[in-house]
């Protein structure tokens, strides 16, 4: 592969970056030019991993003239400041989900990007994953009539993975509604293909020791009889990967015989040591880009649990390897070629926007719509009332 590359800077070498590392280390369309992080060991590793520069401050990173774009992967509360800094410096922006913890912050990001004339892409979320995009194409092709109902169900061990304290504090953007709901909301929005009107949801803290919502039930109404049920349970019991041939969220096989491993591992951690445990797995301590480059490509795509789009003349069920089509007269599997690079779909969109001028699907307005729904989900759970949505774009 030759051709122009995106010269990328990374703001924040934390967990989000680690999850994108297999993509960034392997996709030939990206040149890793610089990064910013407060941790010296992370900066040193980045320099050696990529032969690149590093900065202690995001502002300095954004001033680097060699960058086309900045990947804002800092903790949620810094997203607005970092998006503004990058846009003000004329850099295109890829900002992690959740884009913002308030509609006002999301709007401010959209405005900052517009004022600077740069692209703002929000992700990775699982609505980038190729099988969902393939299902969307099949819906848009119209062969099976209108989409009528979306069913999304995901049971994971999310709540018992090692966390920093703020990740367990909803007020600081922690918990399943900020971290996990954006995926499910975006997959539903992608398949619905039109603006959501309102949401009614139920969610509470089940486990006081974790202090945040790890589960929710939500009914998202798109009007004219189209709705989505979004069910998420991150308490580590039943696991919907059982319905995905034990392919995990990242597209790699899981051991079907293993059970309860997240909770068991956490139980062995002394009080107050959980954040330190997470820190020990941070970038710069453990595996880096070299391991990511050496790893074989994942056998399947990322996914976010059981998803079924019900159309007038078919149900479409995206799986980690393609799309199951349950039509009127036949049931067939439409396979996708296995991914060369995990989450390459994010680079597809970023590359097309920055170097091809193609407006991204996952732009600021898209991310704002998702953020509004997640905030409304939380509000509905707290008030017990339905919440109307106002930032979903044109119908």
């Amino acid at each position: 592969m030759s051709g122009p590359r995106i010269r990328l800077g990374v703001a924040g070498l934390g967990r989000a970056f680690m999850l994108m590392l297999p993509t960034l280390a392997r996709d030939p369309r990206v040149a890793m030019v610089a990064a910013a992080d407060p941790r010296p060991e992370a900066r040193a590793r980045f320099e050696s991993d990529f032969g690149a520069r590093s900065y202690a401050e995001v502002e300095a990173l954004c001033a680097d003239p060699a960058l086309d774009a900045v990947y804002v992967a800092s903790p949620h509360q810094f997203h607005l400041a970092h998006v503004r800094a990058a846009a003000a410096a004329g850099k295109h922006v890829l900002v992690e989900k959740p884009m913002a913890l308030s509609v006002a912050d999301g709007l401010a990001m959209v405005e900052a990007a517009q004022a600077a004339g740069v692209h703002l892409v929000v992700g990775h979320s699982h609505s980038f994953d190729a099988p969902y995009r393939r299902a969307q194409e099949m819906i848009q092709a119209g062969e099976f009539g209108a989409v009528r109902m979306i069913t999304a169900l995901n049971f994971t061990d999310y709540l018992y993975r090692p966390r920093r304290p703020e990740e367990l504090d909803t007020a600081q953007g922690g918990g399943a509604i900020f971290s996990q709901a954006p995926h499910q909301v975006e997959v539903a929005r992608l398949l619905a293909g039109r603006p959501a009107r309102s949401i009614r949801a139920v969610a509470t803290v089940w486990d006081r020791a974790r202090g945040t919502e790890g589960a929710y039930n939500a009914l998202l109404d798109f009007g004219e009889g189209l709705s989505a049920t979004l069910t998420y349970n991150g308490h580590g019991h039943f696991d919907t990967d059982e319905f995905q041939d034990w392919i995990g969220e990242m597209g790699t096989p899981r051991d079907a015989a293993a059970y309860g491993t997240a909770r068991a591992a956490l139980r062995g951690v002394a009080p107050g040591e959980e954040a330190a445990l997470k820190e020990r797995r941070a970038y710069g301590r453990g595996a880096g880009a070299e391991e990511a480059r050496r790893a074989p490509p994942p056998p399947a795509y990322n996914h976010f649990g059981l998803v079924i789009a019900s159309l007038e003349r078919a149900d479409l069920r995206p799986t980690p390897r393609g799309v199951m089509v349950y039509a009127d007269d036949e049931r067939r599997f439409e396979p996708l070629p296995p991914p060369d690079v995990p989450r390459a779909e994010v680079i597809d969109e970023l590359h097309a926007a920055i170097l091809g001028g193609v407006p991204p699907l996952h732009d600021g307005a898209w991310g704002l719509a998702t953020a509004e729904i997640c905030l409304a989900l939380l509000e509905s759970a707290r008030t017990g009332a339905e919440v109307a949505l106002r930032h979903q774009g044109a119908a």
Copy 2:
């Protein structure tokens, strides 16, 4: 088995009776004494199947002094008149679901039974099925903490089975919301263990040729953070029996390779001939009690799709053969002994009530609460607003 038997009369030898025939023909605790039906061929078959009497009119059946109880299995619109007739004659009543098509009718049935001092049992519904009852016992035992969320998902070919015209007319009690939602609502209520407060739902007619709702999405709120999502799609594409080892709703194995059979069979039917097709399979035309007695016991219990009760320290997943327990530290299957007689749970409850004086779980108030929720589901789908519930019993 010896001991006293329920001397039963059947009001209506239609489809509901056919589905209960394997139970009624085989359970030794039931003596089939009489039946009423307008069709002479059904009455003749009943007489020969059971060595029993028959009547053309339900009123005459109810006057039969040899009966302890009447099974009201007539079309929905006759339920109230037939329950009243049976109660007025001092007979206990088993009335099919949906109990009533209005709250007023349901209340009138409850009052009629109370005034007469007879038991009113509503069913069969799948909330009788032993695996759901076993899960309920496990919840009540308290080992896994409070129940927090219920997930119910059922995809079937309901809408494309042969129907009489009124079964495709919602105003006459047709469609998935009257016929199928009672099962899912009752399973959710059983596992929730407390009164529902409100429901928000979305449902429309997807297939104009069938003219009634064949699918719905609903969020049932039980308060204090406990909710149930109820998702049903009867349009004959994806089938949740895939998640039940291809054991069908009646507890018998299905051919996993067969696909789209209901729609294909219906396509071969000439316009106007559908009701006649259904009629050809009616009681008195095809198989009867002798075939039901000769059939081997079903290998598994009845079920109504994927159901997961999420508790603080476990997910419980009833299956056709038992309950999968996904606890904090272990995943185990709690098998139930295979059924001797299908749906024997209905006779358990009826027998205990009539001959043992044990108040039934599925009494008139129970059935009324379910009917109210189904009517509210329809109302919410039509208005787009949440509907508060008022007939759910004491909290």
